[in-house]
Symmetry: C2
Subunit: 133 residues, 2 copies
């Protein structure tokens, strides 16, 4: 159950379809996960309407990974997004893949300002051995 | 972009189909989100195979909410799960809904031991006003 969870609040991103198009955001996320060497199991993304006729709506979604998940919610009216990259060490230390995915997302969204924290989740507990019937 | 993110590592859960069935876990998560007053936009859950013929596989998934997301990954071979409940304050303080959802998940999964942290995400930034064309 051990793994690295990177959670980041992104501010002052330049105008981009990545903030306003669920389809574009999905494409970015799926490609970034795969390029980082992670295993995509599925995803769900949703397109919000704008608050008014002048403002594009945001996008939100999650990619379910064999190694845990990526989640992102955009706020174009605030030029921002919140991002979660959580990658467990299933059979090896996957923290490098988590960092690679995080960097790909930052490179694409180009926030001028980021609040980011890294949490190591899980602790060592003995595996409960399955018993033969 | 402000909101409460509760992230928890659940240990020593009793044997339960909630740890081994993606369908059962999905049903729980969807119902718990709705009972907490949150707006489900979609979900994706996945069923893992067991490590061997004696051990049931885990389940993993995410529920995409209008208010952000719930994500959960189970580890039946460790009698555990990792849980994220992240609920933004879209138009009102939704932290009570986040706590209600978290409590529902804990009540269902019944961990004997939990590592939980609460993070308030986002900070006050002025809204970027849309300009008329």
């Amino acid at each position: 159950m051990k793994g690295l969870h990177i959670f980041a609040d992104l501010y002052n991103c330049p105008d981009s379809v990545l903030l306003t198009s669920a389809d574009e955001l999905r494409t970015l996320c799926m490609a970034a996960c795969r390029r980082a060497g992670l295993t995509v199991l599925g995803e769900h993304f949703f397109q919000f309407d704008g608050f008014d006729s002048l403002q594009a709506g945001g996008a939100t979604g999650a990619v379910v990974l064999a190694e845990s998940h990526l989640a992102i919610h955009t706020w174009p009216e605030r030029s921002g997004a919140t991002l979660d990259v959580y990658v467990c060490n299933v059979t090896a230390d996957n923290s490098g893949k988590a960092e690679k995915l995080y960097e790909a997302m930052i490179t694409a969204l180009r926030p001028a300002d980021v609040l980011v924290d890294r949490v190591w989740r899980g602790r060592d507990l003995p595996v409960v051995q399955a018993k033969a019937a």
